[in-house]
Symmetry: none
Subunit: 202 residues, 4 copies
DNA sequence: AGATAATCGAGACGGTACGTCCCGTCTTCCA
DNA sequence: TGGAAGACGGGACGTACCGTCTCGATTATCT
């Protein structure tokens, strides 16, 4: 994210563009990102201070500013490295089962440890547009494409009507979970994915 | 919102229990709220400063803090006074038509001036849970109850299967619009409400 | 030094150009200047930090920067307000006695609290030529003119040769004390003024 | 100054105490000291930074810290190598002539190229006591001892009264020049040494 | 009419955090 | 081993705002 760092060089005599001087400490990297995530959860994006991150990470402020240009960049980097929005991209050929698997995983993430992180990130990305792309990449893109593929395949197989609005149907499940989390401020219980699948694939 | 002003009146036909001293200037109120919305748009919530709001409104800082306790309250008040999330609660007995009317109105609000405000407000309510209620009141409650009533009536009438998950189906439309606005960062074009209704009520 | 502050207004109806807003605290002024002098003595000019001055004075940094533009200005102001280079300008008609009185007073000042202040100020005035005048005014002008007058009168009276270099002889005493303080870094003991007078007026 | 350097002879008998490894670069030495003097003149002692010296000298910071322990040592070394406070220590047996020669040389140095350097050094030594000793060594000690010896010899020879305060009389000349330079901020014209000698040795 | 009282704009207050610069040390690779 | 390069933890810099607190002046209601 933050830097290039000598990309191997496969062959003999490869010039290896190693930067001169002492290399940056990976320990510091980690300590800072950990402290940043702690701070994000503890104080929120607006309330966290780089000064405190530095102190908690046992690091000088300059060491932070050498790597990132500001709070937004730190948070983005921290999230993109730490956040494991862990949703298996299953494809068994059974749409109902695959959809259920996916939504259950999404829901589990939302009510689990990633929930506050995701909610915080979602909240912040409105205020700080520079976070938007990263949010997309980490939480949305892959999973959304997969769901769309699942639905499209089901249409192909004739399990769903030919005039199905693939994009909408694929989005509907996550949209309802997202709505519960962010609008209703209540992610619902474990049965919510089942209810959603039942209603959508009736 | 911000304060208890002239509390009721003790007697019948109370002669207006006006407080002693110079009354607060309504001009100042307006100037501040306008400046606050400008600032919100210009610099974002994180970047706006009360000092600049005061300066732009031609007002002392104390005049602001006399009315609100902080940035969050100002923004909330500004939004709740300015934001008119205008969705007619129609009930013609035709679910498809009513749902379409509602979603079109919601969508129009989202793509219009209210969209960014709503998103900003949604972001706020995560950090300041006390704003959740206001968000609920302004943007959600009435409309959500109405949609649920519409769907329930349709089930009653036998237009929808008896085992329909009323809550989910009522939420699905707004959820998809909200998903488009906040997750996909693209509220979609004017046909989106139609596509949603077509997909949900097939 | 640092500011103007309502210059009286002599007549009736004088507009009195009182600045708007809360007036600056004189307590803060004093606390800062005291802390600054303490710091100057404690850590030296190079070692003192404005941050510590603020902390010791129980004052925010902004309160300091509102009044002065930097360390140099603070020190100068502190010196010019606190430094009372107290030398009585006696003229009894007895050159030897008057000279002795003067040099003893100068010496007392140098070995006392004013010595380091004077030296520090002398250092300042090299970097900031605009301070030269202040140095001259506070430490030099009056006393130097007086001594010259004393010597000139003695020449007039015939106590000293007619070809006496008045200026040089008048300067010689203070010059030797200054030399001891600044070059030899040892202001000498209480007998130094006597030795000087004895040597100069032999 | 700062360190023991591989001393001389390579051949016969010399056990060659040469240290192992790459010898230190004399180029670096010079470049650093030159850059240091430039910086001293440009930014003053307080304003100069070792980081910039290193950069301007095209040298790593470690190369500086390997040779000197801090800013003061660098400056001191730079001055003591570059500054040639060139005062011949004549002793012809003629006090008046020798004194005059000495004071003229001192005065010439003060008004000449060494003036600003000396003034800067003098200014800084008050603020940074670590410079004091070096100032003494470079600008004062030898010359002062010599002048005292001259005066003492004159007393010995009976040219001056037996009760002459040797130390004071020896200091008086330089003291008056110093006073002119630092207190009066005007080193005076070329006749000043003559006036001083005339007044002191009447 | 005068007293009382809350408001107003202005701006200073003690603080916290910012992002930059430099300190003196340490760590890398190259000569 | 010394050199240039540059990262390290630390700390002060001067600035911007925070939310609170005076100021003198203004504008109301209540004697």
């Amino acid at each position: 994210m933050s830097e290039v760092r000598a990309s191997a060089g496969e062959r003999a005599h490869a010039p290896v563009p190693r930067r001169a001087g002492r290399p940056r400490s990976e320990e510091a990297d980690c300590a800072i990102l950990d402290a940043a995530l702690d701070a994000l959860v503890e104080d929120g994006y607006g309330g966290m201070s780089i000064e405190r991150i530095a102190a908690n990470a046992g690091v000088g402020k300059a060491t932070i500013y050498r790597r990132w240009r500001g709070k937004a960049e730190i948070v983005v980097d921290a999230l993109s490295r730490r956040a494991c929005f862990d949703v298996p991209l299953v494809d068994t050929g059974d749409l109902r089962a695959d959809l259920l698997t996916t939504l259950r995983a999404v829901h589990a993430n939302m009510v689990g440890v990633e929930g506050p992180l995701m909610a915080a990130f979602a909240a912040e990305k409105f205020r700080y547009p520079e976070l938007r792309e990263e949010f997309e990449r980490v939480f949305v893109a892959e999973r959304r494409a997969h769901l769309r593929a699942l639905v499209a395949a089901a249409v192909e197989r004739g399990e769903l009507p030919a005039d199905t609005d693939v994009e909408l149907l694929a989005d509907a499940g996550p949209a309802l979970l997202w709505h519960a989390l962010t609008v209703r401020s209540d992610p619902g219980d474990a049965s919510l994915p089942d209810r959603i699948v039942n209603q959508l694939l009736r």
